[in-house]
């Protein structure tokens, strides 16, 4: 095989108290799409940040085209030809689209920035990525998906030899993802080496040639995608036996709904958000909302929690008109809601795990009623134990936990309030495979053992198919299909989304 484009050898990185990377090797060839896989905290991001000069490394060598490089800042890495698109779009939304692409390397005329040239070239660049927008508008005029494309345009315009895509698809829907993949393949043909990090197995298998797996900061191995079955990949990532993983994938039997209806919506609408949704959710039922990003999944869930007003149709809870005007109304009706964006709307980073867990209960009890400390401790310990939350102790700050564990704390917060309906909006986004499965199991378990009604929303179809007893399929802010029993399959959902009425 030809000389490798990038060779990282024996990379070490130590953070105070933690060995984040230990003796890791990574090799990337030109024209290769290489996935970096591992559970959260395995060291993927750290490896990328060492490569891009965000963190200095504590040992090892990095060679680019055989020459040793030592980037100390993102700028130096860029100058070496290493471009990165980070998971959270790292652009300045107050600047124009064009400026975001060119800032730091603006073409000049008479010593001053040549705006015409910048706008013209940006327009061309984005057209190549089949994005046709007004580049002179500031970036905050556009949705996240477009911003992501702009970030990619910026990255590929720098004469990049290596392009790092860190979770680029987590905020994209399927169409946008397909468009992104087309671009990535074009870049691959130009001989660029691409490092692709994603939690979506489907996407890894669709687009990558090679996989390097990390676990606990150590290298597990590098494999050809075609020769590595998915189950084996997962087994290697979590470091478990293959048979265990098979068990994990097979969901225990789904929960059987009770007769009693908990919440019922009859052609509800919310102005500008939801057009027409009808559904019946029974006790002990796990119901999924399937559909593309922006189809109204989240909005429907928010309406059930009183975050969006009901402007048409009717919504009944236990047979009575709901009249939810405020989340507190919903909480009093024993509804709990874990929002989509846990960092923004869920956790309170500077409070401890215990304090985060008792929040919902405190809100329900009223601001001024004290929950005795002993009771708080008891509750916190109960849920840490029950949900297997990995913490050093209950007084640890929640911001120092991994994504999966933060999610569990938020779920614990709501369970502490003894809800009768639990809404989980994307509870598994951005967390590792093991924890994903645990959360799915937990949703089913709650419905079964406590007769709780559960709404489960996820972008990953197989997850919903495994978990839900009933699937509401949405498109363009409307319910287009309702699947139950054996009809629940990825194919059925896709057909409904695609609009196959017949």
């Amino acid at each position: 095989m030809a000389q490798a484009l990038l060779e990282m050898r024996n990379i070490d990185k130590v953070f105070p108290g933690v060995k984040a990377l230990s003796n890791v090797d990574f090799t990337l060839h030109a024209g290769e799409i290489h996935s970096l896989m591992g559970e959260n905290g395995a060291g993927k991001s750290t490896l990328v940040k060492v490569l891009t000069g965000v963190y200095p490394r504590d040992g090892g060598t990095v060679r680019l085209n055989g020459e040793e490089i030592n980037p100390r800042t993102p700028k130096e890495a860029q100058e070496c030809g290493i471009s990165t698109v980070y998971q959270e779009v790292n652009l300045c939304t107050n600047l124009t689209v064009a400026e975001n692409i060119f800032i730091g390397r603006e073409p000049k005329k008479y010593g001053l920035i040549d705006w015409k040239e910048i706008n013209r070239r940006s327009k061309e660049l984005l057209k190549k990525l089949s994005v046709d927008i007004d580049v002179t508008k500031s970036l905050d005029h556009y949705p996240v998906a477009i911003q992501q494309m702009v970030a990619i345009a910026r990255a590929v315009d720098v004469d990049a030899k290596i392009l790092i895509l860190d979770e680029p698809t987590s905020s994209l829907d399927e169409g946008e993802t397909a468009r992104l993949f087309k671009i990535v393949r074009q870049l691959q043909q130009r001989g660029m080496g691409i490092i692709f990090i994603s939690h979506f197995l489907e996407q890894i298998y669709e687009i990558c040639d090679h996989i390097t797996i990390l676990r606990n900061g150590e290298l597990v191995g590098a494999y050809e995608v075609a020769k590595l079955p998915r189950l084996e990949l997962i087994a290697k990532m979590v470091g478990k036996d293959l048979n265990d993983v098979k068990d994990m994938d097979k969901m225990a039997e789904k929960s059987v709904p009770h007769e009693e209806v908990f919440i019922e919506a009859d052609h509800v609408a919310s102005f500008g958000q939801i057009a027409d949704v009808a559904l019946q959710l029974h006790r002990g039922e796990v119901m999924g909302f399937a559909g593309l990003l922006g189809s109204g999944r989240t909005e429907t869930a928010e309406m059930m929690f009183g975050l969006k007003p009901v402007t048409g149709g009717s919504m009944k809870i236990k047979g009575k008109e709901a009249g939810l005007r405020h989340p507190m109304d919903a909480m009093k009706a024993k509804i709990a809601f874990c929002p989509e964006d846990r960092k923004l709307a869920g956790i309170i980073g500077d409070l401890t795990v215990r304090e985060n867990i008792i929040l919902a209960l405190q809100a329900l009890d009223g601001m001024f009623r004290h929950i005795p400390y002993d009771k708080q401790v008891e509750l916190a310990d109960k849920f840490i134990d029950r949900l297997k939350i990995k913490v050093s102790d209950r007084e640890q700050l929640i911001k120092n936990l991994s994504g999966g564990n933060q999610q569990k704390v938020i779920i614990a917060r709501w369970l502490a309030a003894n809800p009768e309906l639990l809404i989980l909006d994307e509870p598994t986004r951005g967390i590792d495979v093991g924890t994903k499965t645990e959360i799915q199991k937990m949703a089913v378990e709650l419905a079964k053992s406590q007769g709780m009604a559960v709404v489960f929303i996820s972008s990953e179809m197989d997850e919903m198919v495994r978990t839900c007893s009933k699937l509401i399929v949405m498109r363009d802010r409307k319910k287009v299909a309702e699947l139950t029993g054996n009809d629940i399959s990825s194919e059925g959902v896709m057909r409904a989304i695609a609009g196959g009425d017949n």
């Binding site: 965000v54 800042t73 993102p74 700028k75 890495a77 860029q78 990165t84 980070y86 790292n90 652009l91 300045c92 939304t93 107050n94 600047l95 400026e99 800032i103 730091g104 603006e106 001053l112 920035i113 705006w115 500031s138 905050d140 005029h141 556009y142 949705p143 998906a145 477009i146 910026r154 169409g175 922006g294 363009d476």
Partner: protein, 341 residues
């Protein structure tokens, strides 16, 4: 709402347009009410009286653009006046040397503040507040009494009237206009200027895009220090004195002017011509009060207070419009995607 109107409101120049329209309207009302407003010199006096404030506002706008602040500008201005007066009175050095010394002094002071803020990642509010006390104190230590500048060269410079049409402007105005011009070019058309906007928009993104964040931040406070001392010279040209209470509260006037001109306190939005009109609006209100004759000059503060409030609310409204537009364009996107398939 009408789509075009929504787009105009979300445009980055909307606050600027509002400011300009407000200025023109105020001036128009002035002309309608008082004949005196028609005289060109009344217009030129807006600049003559506010030359120092204009220069200081330019400096503070740089700070606000990176999401920082500089509270020391008024005190630095006072210190510069005092040192200049002291040098010209007690030493025989030529005027240009004295001017050079105070310029360097203010600039270095700004650079030190900037370095401390950036190096230790401190709140600019506190550091420049400390700087304000330091300079104000130092000014009083040099002299508690007013020192009058009698140096003939400097006095001649102060009395120079540069004719424009049927009116005239002062040397200070020329300095102010040059400062505004240079600042506008730097902010609009140089890498340094655009990096300032990027840092104001999102500092960590700017760093990840490979922009020189540290250097730029220090430079911004240095520029603010330079503008304060340049403003101090313009102020000395107008007052011909060094006095401990010169420029008291000027930092707040400058911040108010900048905000009325469309600068966001959160950083990343704003531009120099807006700041110019922000100052002019304050000037017009003061002119009104002068023509009216019986009102106290403090009414200017009351009106400015009201205006500030209105502008801050307007900015919040603009931000809201923008997020609505974003939501709308994602919806359009989704719809057009559907028609493709």
């Amino acid at each position: 709402m009408n789509k075009n109107l929504a787009n105009i409101i979300a445009s980055k120049y909307f606050s600027f347009f509002v400011t300009v329209i407000l200025f023109v309207a105020l001036y128009g009302i002035g002309i309608a009410m008082y004949n005196g407003f028609m005289k060109p010199q009344v217009f030129f006096n807006l600049f003559v009286d506010n030359a120092a404030l204009l220069i200081v506002t330019v400096g503070i706008t740089f700070c606000l653009l990176i999401g920082g602040i500089d509270l020391s500008v008024g005190a630095v201005l006072a210190l510069v006046c005092m040192v200049l007066a002291w040098l010209l009175t007690n030493t025989g050095i030529p005027v240009f040397l004295a001017v050079l010394i105070v310029l360097i002094m203010g600039t270095v002071f700004g650079a030190v503040q900037g370095y401390i803020i950036t190096k230790f990642d401190l709140q600019p509010f506190i550091i420049t507040l400390a700087g304000m006390f330091f300079c104000r104190g130092l000014t009083a230590v040099i002299s508690q009494e007013t020192i009058t500048i009698t140096n003939p060269t400097f006095v001649a410079l102060a009395d120079t009237r540069i004719p424009v049409g049927s009116g005239f402007i002062s040397v200070g105005v020329v300095i102010a206009l040059l400062t505004i011009l240079v600042a506008a070019i730097v902010l609009g058309f140089t890498k340094f200027g655009r990096t300032i906007y990027a840092i104001g928009g999102n500092e960590s993104s700017a760093a990840l895009m490979g922009l020189p964040v540290f250097r730029t931040k220090v430079c911004v406070y240095t520029i603010s220090g330079f503008c304060s001392s340049l403003g101090g010279i313009a102020y000395a040209l107008m007052m011909l004195t060094g006095y401990n209470l010169h420029g008291l509260g000027m930092e707040m006037d400058a911040i108010a002017s900048s905000v009325i001109g469309g600068t966001l306190l959160t950083g990343g939005v704003g531009f120099i011509p807006g700041a110019l009109f922000g100052v002019l609006i304050q000037g017009v209100i003061l002119t009104f009060i002068n023509f009216q004759g019986t009102l106290s000059a403090w009414w200017t503060k009351i009106v400015i207070g009201g205006l500030l409030c209105v502008f801050i609310i307007m900015q919040a409204f603009i931000t809201e419009q923008k997020s609505k537009l974003t939501a709308k364009s994602s919806m359009d996107e989704a719809n057009s995607g559907k028609s493709d398939s």
